[in-house]
């Protein structure tokens, strides 16, 4: 089971889209093992959308 408190979130990369949007990508680890990737879209530094892709076989608590 995946407990959010156990996760390590590591900045991966970001890129600008036009002049106002930035796409951020973070890699998620648990006890050193890769769990998945979360992507966030910010409009003028305000979060507007997020998408997390989690490896198969992992369940949330």
């Amino acid at each position: 089971m995946l407990n959010l408190k156990d996760l390590e979130i590591i900045f991966s990369e970001n890129e600008v889209i036009g002049t106002d949007y930035i796409l951020y990508s973070y890699k998620i680890f648990r006890q050193g093992s890769y769990v998945g990737t979360c992507r966030f879209i910010a409009y003028n530094n305000k979060l507007i959308k997020s998408l997390c892709t989690i490896s198969g076989g992992i369940a949330f608590e």
């Binding site: 900045f11 990369e13 970001n14 600008v16 002049t19 106002d20 930035i22 910010a42 003028n44 530094n45």
Partner: protein
Amino acid sequence: MSKPDSLPPGQRAIPNFIIYRILGQPQVDLTSWRLRVGGDVSNPLTYTYNELLEMIDTSYVSDFHCVTGWSVRNVMWEGVSLRKLSMKAQPSKDVKWVYIVSLDRYTTVIPYEDFLDERSLLALRMNGRTLSLEQGFPARIFIPHLYGWKSAKWVTEITLTKEYKDGYWEALGYHHRGNVWREERFK
């Protein structure tokens, strides 16, 4: 030269930094990390992170300009004056260049006169917070009037020298100075 209300030619403002780590993300161990200031000096010095924190003497708000054409406006910078670090090392009168080496082995070269500018900074904090790892923790250079490739992250060696030597991007054709208001992007 500085025009605080306008962007330099060829730049557009974006909301936040785009993170570049051309040589990868170095791991930082503060117990072994040191900043060394040496070269053509009579008093080479080595600093720990805590010693640098106690030396913070400069803070201001300034824009950051990347040579690829984006700028981030109104960034709060805090750190140690590069002029002060230089003077403590007692440089030779013949020093003309400053060669920077980072933990990831990234290098760049800065004209000494720009390094001595009153706003040139060894930045330890940005926007009121300790530098993040991707922004160059524990210490990075920041010189407001030079393009960002001169603002090396994860700095570990500052060498004051008489001799010019290309850094990473300078060897690939980027300008020896990189003044944003003169659009000194390439040699």
